[in-house]
Subunit: 251 residues, 2 copies
Amino acid sequence: MGARRGEDVEVVTAPGRLPGGDERAVRERARAIPEAAVARLAVYLRVLSGLAEQGVTTIASEELSAAAGVNSAKLRKDLSYIGSYGTRGVGYEVEVLVDQIERILGLTRKHSVCVVGIGNLGHALANYAGFPGRGFPVSALFDVDEDLIGVPVGGILVSHVEDIPRVCAEREVSIGVIATPPPAAQGVCDRLVSAGVQCILNFAPVVLQVPDHVEVRKVDLAVEMQILSFHVARRADEAANADESGMVVPG
Amino acid sequence: MGARRGEDVEVVTAPGRLPGGDERAVRERARAIPEAAVARLAVYLRVLSGLAEQGVTTIASEELSAAAGVNSAKLRKDLSYIGSYGTRGVGYEVEVLVDQIERILGLTRKHSVCVVGIGNLGHALANYAGFPGRGFPVSALFDVDEDLIGVPVGGILVSHVEDIPRVCAEREVSIGVIATPPPAAQGVCDRLVSAGVQCILNFAPVVLQVPDHVEVRKVDLAVEMQILSFHVARRADEAANADESGMVVPG
DNA sequence: GTATGTGAAAAAGTTCACAGCC
DNA sequence: GGCTGTGAACTTTTTCACATAC
């Protein structure tokens, strides 16, 4: 990522420092993109794809950031993590950004997905044909319900949860989506992990315990609702306070 | 690396700084619970409710934090934002924490929810009878499809999107859930806002534009998948690098 | 003139470590 | 002894502001 620097700002290595691990740490850090920035890059990508479809070829940070709901400094900083692809005085070429973000996010390869738990939600997920933002083909479905096994959902036959290891290996599943009832989630997770799945998207309201090398992201409806509830409450408080211009709060 | 700030750089207020709004800002800050902590409080609440059901009456930060998937210092800090309800040398009373967290999150009152867009996902959401973590009754459903209007889903009749203002007012909806196709989302959002809904949970892959007083949270499948994809890719990179530096890669 | 890219400052969030209380 | 509560240290993330390039 050839950000060129006039001079090498040599890190004046303190003389007593770890010799071996240091360089690698530095390289890793240089390569590292903040987690928060990764999430936003995905958003920028979607906005950019939309723009490309509309025939927009060039865009300035100000405009792109507005469309993505962030401020322009943050957008530029985020983009700077992946390289320097803009033109000063002009802006960014939409197509270039799309390509670069896709590269960074690893979207140049396909990631097979399996969905475990074909209830209401699992059904909905399986039917998101090809999963939002193509590149994530759903290639296996699992449930424990005998009545569902062998039934096609969104074009894929449901397999039994017991077969997770075999089926996931065969179909090279790299991402597992858990949409089971809470009590089943940890067990399913363990099976996925032992099947070699390294990334899990968890919709079950449970905190999954996984080994370090497995990445879990969770989507938690109850938590989201409660956060909103908190904001409703706070707003009510603020309104009350504004009213009184100050003092409050009994235990 | 030498940038330590050992001594108190006394904040000699630069004479050019805003003096007026300062006090209020300070007071607000003192009262404020970090956004990140709010999300975790909701998780603690769930874990605690489970414990209470199992008859556990007292728990130490170490154990509770393990169950919630965070470290104990963070847990204690988070709890400290809502008050001091623990006993040194002992731990926390489960019931007390449940009550206090519920109070802070505003769960002592009910929040009526409406779901807009009764497709696969909306259907699943509407059927989450009473919504995860009771206290969020679904009290209205909306769609544009004439064939759906008047049909009961999860016990509630679907209304037309045009009726959002009237129905939301009647049923005192305080949280709107958007599960429409992307192109419809902003329009629906505008309607919800004009109906006085101040909190929105958005499942549509669009960045919603709302006035400042409206709180939006989004659940974005595509983004979640892409973040996982990023981690798959990074892992692959790391494996390649480790290879280079002579490490043994596990199968 | 205009808009990027980026050090440096500020803010937010996390972890440490230990005084204080049981 | 054991565990909470919390200032202080540290880390990460965001914002500022401007040199740099077109």
